[in-house]
């Protein structure tokens, strides 16, 4: 079997069979759902009812808003958990064992990144299916094929960005202890940095700017736009002013000093961030293994 395929396969098995690792990689998802059930959903519905009269579509729209946040968080936490295998292997000398084989260190390193992409992608897809079922169960409708294709595209972007971003962070630590701290920090911060725990409009302006600059939050924006557009149009029918206020307050699209970010702008920003974090990671990696 091809060496790379074999290595990825091994990392994958190690991940899948560690039930706790899988569980903790989606723990923040469970937290989001709980927070949502307890208060985020209600406060949001109340806020919207101040703007427009309540409609059937309202609840579905708010559900979609949450799902968008979930999907971007899953991409981050699962890819990071998968990279944890690299740190564990480093500390327990498994890496040294791999390095006694005639293979380049860079190739072995790359296998962990590929595995992280794979795990992030598969778990995000499972997340997408679960979200679709949730939306339908709560009275929403099935996604069109076009929407599914669009969502899968955004998942691919989100997973790639998360993976290289996490790779960069992972290269900064070298012990399992430090990594577990990193994991906790990322797991906690990501919900805020993507405007999922607290809507964008509810935080001070400089924090809003930080969130807008944080590249991963742009994946949330793309997910929101893709998931919510139909419902948005229905809920805010004939009230473009209210629609705009809501979309900015809840981060469906970003407005920076009166300049509106288009979806394309977000995609470009994400791709640029992927390139930047890849380059920084390569540099860090080179520095570490001189």
């Amino acid at each position: 079997m091809n060496t790379m395929l074999n290595l990825v396969n091994r990392h994958n098995k190690v991940f899948r069979r560690d039930r706790m690792l899988v569980f903790f990689s989606i723990l923040s998802v469970i937290i989001v759902i709980m927070l949502y059930a307890i208060f985020i959903q209600k406060t949001q519905v109340d806020a919207i009812e101040q703007l427009v009269p309540a409609s059937d579509q309202l609840k579905t729209m708010v559900n979609e808003w949450m799902v968008a946040g979930l999907l971007s968080i899953i991409a981050v936490t699962t890819t990071l958990a998968a990279l944890g295998i690299y740190i564990k292997d480093l500390e327990t000398k498994v890496m040294a064992d791999f390095l006694t084989t005639p293979n380049a260190r860079a190739k072995i390193q790359l296998s962990y990144v590929i595995n992280s992409l794979l795990i992030g992608f598969v778990l995000s897809l499972i997340g997408l299916i679960a979200c679709q079922l949730f939306i339908v169960f709560m009275g929403g409708s099935w996604f069109s094929l076009e929407k599914i294709a669009q969502l899968i595209g955004i998942i691919a972007l989100a997973v790639t960005l998360s993976s290289v971003f996490n790779l960069f962070l992972t290269l900064l630590v070298s012990t399992q202890n430090a990594f577990s701290t990193l994991n906790t920090v990322v797991g906690t911060a990501i919900g805020f940095l993507c405007g999922v725990y607290v809507p964008l409009g509810a935080v001070p302006e400089f924090v809003q700017k930080i969130i807008m600059l944080f590249p991963i939050s742009h994946t949330t924006v793309l997910f929101r736009e893709a998931l919510m557009r139909d419902s948005l149009d229905k809920v805010f029918e004939g009230a473009p002013e209210a629609a705009n206020t809501y979309e900015i307050q809840f981060g469906v699209h970003y407005e920076w000093n009166d300049v509106i970010f288009s979806q394309l702008d977000s995609v470009i920003y994400i791709v640029a961030a992927i390139i930047v974090f890849t380059l920084i990671s390569l540099w860090l990696y080179g520095k570490k293994n001189k």
């Binding site: 079997m1 060496t3 074999n6 290595l7 098995k13 190690v14 040294a96 064992d97 005639p102």
Partner: protein
């Protein structure tokens, strides 16, 4: 005889600390070579340099005639060596078979080669009963079996083992040791190991003793014993016999404690002559050969043999 490892002036500096200070030695093909030394002597550092895991600071190393250093050469060396680490490096949630086949696959073997090698390691390490078990559920001895199997799945010609028996119970140590010996004898694999256990080193073909980064002694167990130990004769005299004056008369070097006289002899054979002289005066005796433990203690205490 063919040399498989040829080390000249090898040294390693960690920052300003010189862990290995210009050591030289040779290992012959098919030999069981033991690296002995107290904690921090530089054994692991040396072995890691030979295994291409750690870059040397200076010196020359040739493994199977290939100079260690360049990337292509190191790849050639890596194909020829297997390494058993002190700690477990297999995955606890994978079965023994999965573990070994996954690692074997990284050597770019064909399916057929891998299958043949799997049968080969099975034969030497009797994996049949544990192949389908999760590595994490195995006992210490079974784990070690799997570890060694992993190290030889690509049929290396040289097997490095860093303290393969440290922390194992005596029974498991014997098992591991037997497996290593069998591999050496039946496949002519060269074995290079480090250990703290003297009795293990005693069955090696060649021993190198390291201390503070330097080689302080090398030779076969036999020559080391000759160099660093002496045999002793212990005697108890009959009641009423003045042992001290008797032994002094015969010009013997001895010490007495609780009526037991400890006489240093050149070799066990010489004890025979002394016993003949004393046979009418002694009630019991014992002859003890110098052990590897004595060698080790002497080398490390730097007690000169007088």
């Amino acid at each position: 005889m063919e040399l498989v490892i040829d080390v000249k002036n090898l040294s390693k500096k960690y920052g300003s600390h010189e862990a290995v200070k210009g050591i030289s030695f040779e290992v012959k093909k098919g030999a069981l070579f033991a690296f002995l030394g107290t904690n921090g002597a530089g054994k692991s550092t040396s072995i890691e340099m030979l295994c291409t895991l750690l870059e040397k600071t200076s010196g020359d190393v040739k493994i199977n005639g290939v100079s260690l250093g360049s990337r292509t050469n190191n790849y050639l060396i890596r194909k020829a060596i297997g390494v058993v680490f002190q700690q477990s490096i297999l995955d606890t949630r994978l079965t023994v078979e999965e573990n070994i086949l996954h690692r074997g696959n990284i050597y770019k073997l064909t399916k057929k080669e891998l299958q043949e090698n799997w049968e080969f390691v099975n034969r030497y390490l009797h994996l049949k009963d544990i192949a389908k078990k999760k590595y994490g559920t195995l006992s210490g001895g079974q784990k070690r079996r799997a570890d060694i199997a992993r190290a030889i799945i690509h049929k290396p010609t040289i097997l490095f083992l860093d303290e393969p028996t440290t922390g194992l119970d005596p029974q498991t140590r014997v098992f591991v040791w037997d497996a290593i010996k069998k591999l050496q004898e039946e496949t002519n694999m060269t074995i290079f190991l480090t250990t703290h256990y003297m009795e293990e080193a005693a069955v090696a073909d060649e021993i190198v003793v390291m201390k503070e980064g330097k080689i302080v002694s090398k030779g076969t167990p036999h020559t080391l014993k000759e160099q660093y130990t002496y045999d002793e004769l212990f005697v108890f005299f009959n009641n009423g016999v003045d042992g001290t004056s008797l032994l002094t008369q015969h010009d013997l070097n001895f010490a007495e404690k609780n009526g037991e006289y400890r006489v240093r002899v050149q070799s066990t054979i010489h004890a025979l002559d002394i016993l003949k002289e004393l046979q009418n005066f002694i009630s019991s005796f014992e002859v003890k050969k110098g052990s590897m433990d004595d060698v080790f203690i002497r080398i490390n205490e730097e007690v000169p043999l007088t």
